[in-house]
């Protein structure tokens, strides 16, 4: 579904990504692992059009996404849950969710709203509340729910576990698995490699802007380097 081929991305003089390539197939959860600054967030931002590659190609179902502005990439079916959640603090929970569905005018918006509430009942309880007053876990639920409201083909998740208590992390990851089982294709960026590999089908390891390793989750979990560097053994 998504094919990223040898992209280079630079922040001014600094090259953040060097010839990064990856693929996400329909229905998969693919995880992108790596340390801080390895280029995980940069990769997602480039896919969703917030950053532009200086080289290489990005295609979604064989249509190029390079040079397409972010709002038009959403229209092509890519929803991005950014690092740090970036929910609209001053908008209500309902307004945040409706912004997720900004481009839609089909009749299924209400049905999707119900679906999001089924996944995250807490959001239904807080529907009229201003989003800035939600707890960290609730904000993460809102960020994911908001992205689902776009009814995307591909969901990009950037560090959904960030800043959350372990019990909440497990809940969020269970929900991600559920969303995937309902047919969603997911590209997941995580620092918490153990959790990510436990739910992903395949993974890539980014090191200082380049892909160092690729394989199925089992292969990566069994890899000695991965175990030492990312799984704390």
């Amino acid at each position: 579904m998504l094919k990223v081929e040898s992209i280079d991305v630079a922040y001014g003089e600094i090259r953040a990504l060097k010839s990064v390539g990856l693929e996400v197939g329909r229905g998969e959860i693919v995880t992108l692992l790596g340390n801080n600054g390895a280029g995980k967030t940069t990769t997602l931002k480039t896919i969703s059009g917030l950053l532009h590659p200086t080289q290489g190609s990005i295609t979604l179902e064989d249509e190029s996404l390079v040079g397409v502005p972010p709002h038009a990439i959403v229209a092509r079916g890519v929803a991005h849950v950014p690092e740090g959640r970036r929910i609209f603090n001053r908008l209500s929970v309902r307004e945040n969710l409706m912004m997720g569905a900004y481009l839609r005018s089909d009749g299924k918006i209400t049905a999707d709203l119900d679906r999001v509430f089924a996944l995250f009942p807490r959001l239904a309880e807080r529907i009229a509340q201003v989003a800035g007053t939600l707890s960290g876990g609730e904000q993460q639920m809102l960020a994911i729910g908001r992205a689902l409201m776009a009814s995307p083909r591909l969901l990009l998740l950037d560090e959904p576990s960030m800043g959350l208590a372990p019990v909440l992390v497990e809940q969020i990851f269970d929900t991600i698995t559920d969303i995937n089982r309902q047919g969603m294709t997911i590209l997941l960026v995580e620092q918490n490699a153990a959790m990510a590999l436990s739910i992903a089908h395949r993974g890539y390891v980014l090191e200082t802007g380049s892909i160092a390793l690729a394989g199925t989750s089992t292969e990566l979990s069994d890899n000695a380097d991965v175990r030492r560097a990312y799984l704390g053994e």
């Binding site: 970036r86 609209f88 201003v130």
Partner: protein, 323 residues
């Protein structure tokens, strides 16, 4: 001190203050909405406001020379003039953003500010040039509509003209419409989303540039409406008469909490009332030592005091963010 007089003029002063305050509020919305989405002060907004007044007077003079000014019912004339003024100012604001601000979007903060000041001077002199060529005069007077000058004497010291009621009604209508657009519609929610986080808004599929244009359109239209109401209320306009009301409306926006829409309304009203009361009461209360000409000094001293104690403005936002 004549206490009876002080009390007697109170309702009239209150009315004048409210009219002035609504005028400031309508203009202040343009500053505050643009600041909300771009964190940028559109110093050309005072000219966008006065262009509305000029478009209005041109439509009225046009109707007059066509013999329609007294032929059409006055509410129709007013609506026509208001719509024309709003359209003129709104489109001008959108054009100014496209030409003078958007290319500087990523430049250091001061650069678009200088561009705005340049546009402000440019527009003043363009109005002057145009009107000088077209009418041989750039001080123009709003044609009077007899129905608007009808006055109701409510008490010995309070009489209300139809004009005042129209200005208050028009301003209230605009503020209500704006409130509904911003808080009850999808594009309004998108404006608030863009104001809060442009990158996140673009990830929702929102075309940020279109929302910015829309913000200039709405803010400009509110300014244009204020321009028409200003002309109807005070009669005489010239290309430079936008400057002082613009500056005061900007102050009102800061007073209410810049970027905050209800704040602009409250700030405008507070400033208008302060000014009206200072103008009428200063000389009475000081036995003539300080006349009405000190009204701005008093009004602005109070503003400074308010801002010392509430630096974010009366309704400045304090949203608690939790990680």
């Amino acid at each position: 001190m004549d206490v009876a007089l002080l009390i007697g003029i109170f309702p009239q002063v209150l009315l004048d203050g409210i009219i002035l305050g609504f005028m400031y509020a309508l203009i202040a919305l343009g500053y505050t909405m643009v600041y909300g989405v771009l964190e940028f002060i559109n110093f050309a907004h005072s000219e966008i406001f006065i262009v509305g007044a000029f478009v209005g007077v041109e439509v009225m003079l046009g109707l007059k020379s066509a013999g329609l000014l007294d032929g059409l019912p006055w509410p129709v004339v007013l609506v026509l003039v208001l719509v024309a003024g709003m359209a003129g100012s709104g489109l001008l604001a959108v054009t100014v953003e496209r030409v003078a601000y958007r290319p500087l979007r990523n430049a250091p903060r001061l650069i678009p500010l200088i561009s705005a000041i340049g546009i402000s001077f440019f527009l003043q002199d363009m109005i002057r040039l145009f009107e000088s060529l077209w009418r041989n005069a750039f001080n123009l007077v709003y044609p009077t509509l007899d129905a608007l000058n009808l006055r109701f004497e409510l008490t010995e010291t309070l009489d209300v003209s139809v004009k005042s009621l129209v200005v208050i009604g028009g301003a209230l209508g605009m503020l209500w419409a704006l409130h509904m657009i911003v808080n009850r519609t999808k594009v309004g929610t998108a404006i608030r989303a863009v104001a809060e986080d442009q990158a996140a808004a673009s990830l929702m599929g929102i075309d940020v540039n279109r929302i910015i244009s829309l913000t200039f359109l709405i803010g400009g239209a509110m300014g244009g409406a204020a321009g028409v109401l200003f002309g109807v209320q005070y009669g005489l306009i010239n290309p430079y008469s936008g400057f002082i009301p613009g500056l005061k409306a900007f102050t009102a926006a800061v007073l209410g909490g810049i970027g905050n829409i209800p704040g602009a309304m409250v700030g405008g009203l507070v400033l208008g009332l302060l000014e009206a009361f200072a103008a009428s009461y200063l000389s009475l209360l000081t036995g003539g030592a300080f006349g009405a000409e000190y009204k701005d000094i008093l009004a602005f001293s109070i503003l400074i005091l308010i801002l010392i104690f509430r630096p974010k403005g009366l309704l400045g936002e304090v949203v608690r963010e939790r990680a």
